[in-house]
């Protein structure tokens, strides 16, 4: 259990990159990028976890209760929001690519250039 969360983060990263690299459809590639990005959330929150502690929100617990690290949670929150907007921007690019070249297959796009 001491390294399992980190290894899960590594696995998600690798499988996401594999999906992107072998993708035949840019929409699918954007989905794989979202998978890859989720590995960073897992890693960040795993680093900040403290055994037996609770969330750093003191609205319903007495001050002084052991809590997990709020700094990494703030980072991960930013990460989630930025991830979503990046997905939106990339999907807009995919729509443009499709309009310009009539395909969303990365291999066919390479052939068009070369």
């Amino acid at each position: 259990m001491t390294v399992l969360p980190y290894l899960v983060a590594v696995w998600i990263f690798l499988i996401g990159v594999y999906g992107m690299a072998t993708s035949r459809n840019l929409v699918h590639a954007v989905g794989c990028l979202a998978v890859t990005q989720s590995s960073t959330y897992v890693l960040l929150l795993a680093v900040g976890y403290r055994r037996g502690a609770t969330a750093p929100v003191f609205s319903d617990i007495p001050v002084g209760t052991p809590v997990v690290d709020p700094v990494v949670q703030a980072l991960a929150l930013t990460d989630v929001v930025v991830g979503a907007t990046v997905t939106a921007l990339l999907l807009a690019l995919v729509v443009q690519t499709d309009k310009r070249h009539g395909t969303v297959d990365p291999d066919e796009l390479t052939e068009l250039k070369g």
Partner: protein, 86 residues
């Protein structure tokens, strides 16, 4: 005993997320991948809650359950519509 239960929940959440990520990355059809990505989002929200990060879980739920799938599916539809015409 409470500790063992915490560990079990953590392990279940982690394995669920890993499995959902694998399924989402390996699914080649973008529309079906969108369904798996929303499952991944739900799994992540569960994992974040178990990791005592409800704030992050909430933003994952907000973003992942309807907005991201909607954008993905609309892109798929736009691309398919153009394909069908050709």
């Amino acid at each position: 005993m409470g500790d063992a239960l915490d560990d079990a929940l953590l392990a279940a959440g982690l394995l669920l997320v890993a499995a959902a990520a694998t399924a989402a990355a390996l699914c080649r059809d973008p529309a079906r991948q969108a369904v798996l990505l929303s499952l991944l989002g739900l799994g992540l929200a569960l994992l974040f809650t178990v990791l005592q990060a409800p704030d992050v879980g909430l933003s994952q739920l907000a973003v992942g359950s309807a907005v991201t799938p909607l954008m993905l599916l609309l892109t798929v539809r736009k691309v398919r519509r153009r394909k069908r015409h050709e």
